[in-house]
């Protein structure tokens, strides 16, 4: 049984179809990526899993053998443990670093576990602890991306959805962020990543899907996709 099983998912915005019945799975413990051009429907896919956009009738989404469509967006996070790092980070810049992390535990009642998770995040990203009482908006782009990941982890750590985490980051910061993500994955967080930076995503993930115009056109082991001539031509610059 897959952790996340998406079947025939269709989504429309104002009657324009963004996803045309896509199907994919994510197994427990995996790192899976979806690559594709801007506007291919990658973010929409994550939004549908987070229940922020409506899936059309006929779509089936199952998570840990539960019907995902029966959950509202906040309960997807608080009850199923699916967290979402949105594109562009979208931190609450008017709140402090610590408040951003605490807000993510709004629905949690496991006080001791919350404190342990908080310590875990501060160990993973020591910069965040240094800046815990600083407003999130005053931090650098790299620190903000760390906070976005840490905040997501605090909200739910069973499956983490990441939307273009590399965007706007210098290569070195990007590498350290992906190292941190790999650590979290090794500790049991399953990761579904969407990226325009196809090379980076395919080097990081175990499996990948290629999305074009709202359809998944290719799937396979990330290593295989890296060597696939079509993928190389279209997404890796030849």
């Amino acid at each position: 049984m897959s952790l996340l099983a998406v079947e025939n998912l269709s989504v429309s915005y104002d009657r324009i179809r963004a996803l045309h019945g896509i199907s994919f799975t994510v197994e427990e413990g995996e790192i899976v990526c979806i690559i594709g051009a801007n506007g291919a429907g990658k973010s929409t896919t994550l939004r549908a899993v987070s229940r922020l956009v409506k899936a059309e009738p006929g779509s089936r989404l199952r998570f840990a053998d539960k019907d995902l469509l029966a959950y509202g967006p906040d309960r997807v996070v608080s009850e199923l443990g699916i967290s979402h790092v949105p594109e562009g980070r979208r931190l609450f810049e008017n709140l402090t670093v610590l408040e951003n992390l605490r807000l993510a535990t709004f629905a949690r009642r496991d006080t001791e576990r919350i404190e342990a998770d908080l310590r875990r995040m501060f160990r993973l990203f020591p910069r965040l602890e240094e800046r815990r009482n600083q407003k999130a908006g005053t931090m650098s782009g790299g620190e903000q991306q760390m906070l976005a990941v840490a905040r997501a982890y605090m909200s739910g750590r069973r499956l983490m959805l990441l939307d273009e985490p590399s965007m706007g980051l210098a290569p070195l910061l990007m590498m350290s962020l992906f190292d941190a993500l790999r650590e979290l994955n090794a500790e049991g967080t399953t990761i579904l990543l969407v990226e325009q930076n196809a090379r980076l995503a395919l080097q990081f993930a175990r499996r990948g899907y290629v999305m074009e115009n709202g359809r998944l056109v290719l799937a396979g082991e990330a290593r295989g996709l890296l060597e696939n001539p079509e993928v190389r031509r279209a997404y890796l610059g030849g």
């Binding site: 922020l52 810049e93 605490r102 535990t105 909200s155």
Partner: protein
Amino acid sequence: MTVFLQNLVNALQWGSFYALIAIGYSMVYSILMLFNFAHGDVFMTGAYIGCGIALLLVGLGSAGILVLPGWLVLVLTLLLAMVVTACLGMFIERVGYRPLRDAPRASAAITGLMIGIILETGNLILLGAQRVKFPALIQPVTYELGGVFVTNQKIMIVIVALGLALALHQFIRRTRWGMAMRAMAFDYAVVPLMGVPINRIAALTFALGSGLAAAAGILFGMAYPVLDPYMGIVFGWKSFVAAILGGRGSILGATLAGFLLGFIEIFVAMVFPSTLRDFIAYSIILLILVFRPYGLFGEPYSVRLRL
């Protein structure tokens, strides 16, 4: 000097009403991007509900069933009316605004106007056209300090208004719920991703705002004991001005702007003929806004409305 101080006292009382109503406007606007134009009529309804509760308690007292001291009747009236009006606010949000959450903002704004008219006319149908007299709950005592007259009631009104504003400010600064409200004011679309049930935050926002409006209504009823169904209209509009003047989402801003409005109105009336009061007062505020278009304490927020 005594005239000035006397007017200052009056302005503090007058500003208390604006401040309490403005806070509700400001909170709803910042958290839901919504001008709740029914808010002035919620203030009116709160005054009536408070009046009803006060009359009931006074009636029970004179019938000998439940004899309470006046101050306790006042406290109970305030608390009960705030709770009932908070429920009304949540009902308005649930029925009037939630279905329009993603609709154009103009639709939500006219919904507010319509709810306001429904509250006004509903009141007329229920109670008829004659005005209602708010019962006197505390024995008036007048103190004289160097020629300035202050009643115990005025002191009470200002203290209750300031106390409620401060309590709310602390609630928003210090609690988990308040944190969620601040987050929603900054970037509404991302809040569900934190596992926060935004419908409950929206309901809470309406409850708090409506509760404060009810408090304003009762305090107003004590100072000016004649209620009528249209009393909320002008008060609502002026408090709306105070909310904008205070700056989006700022509790302290709305409170200060409410008092500022009270001061400007009272002091303009002190210098100019009272028929010119609003003309001059609101010209001054227009000028302030020209120079501070985000209000006095406007806080930054994300302009992205969806994820």
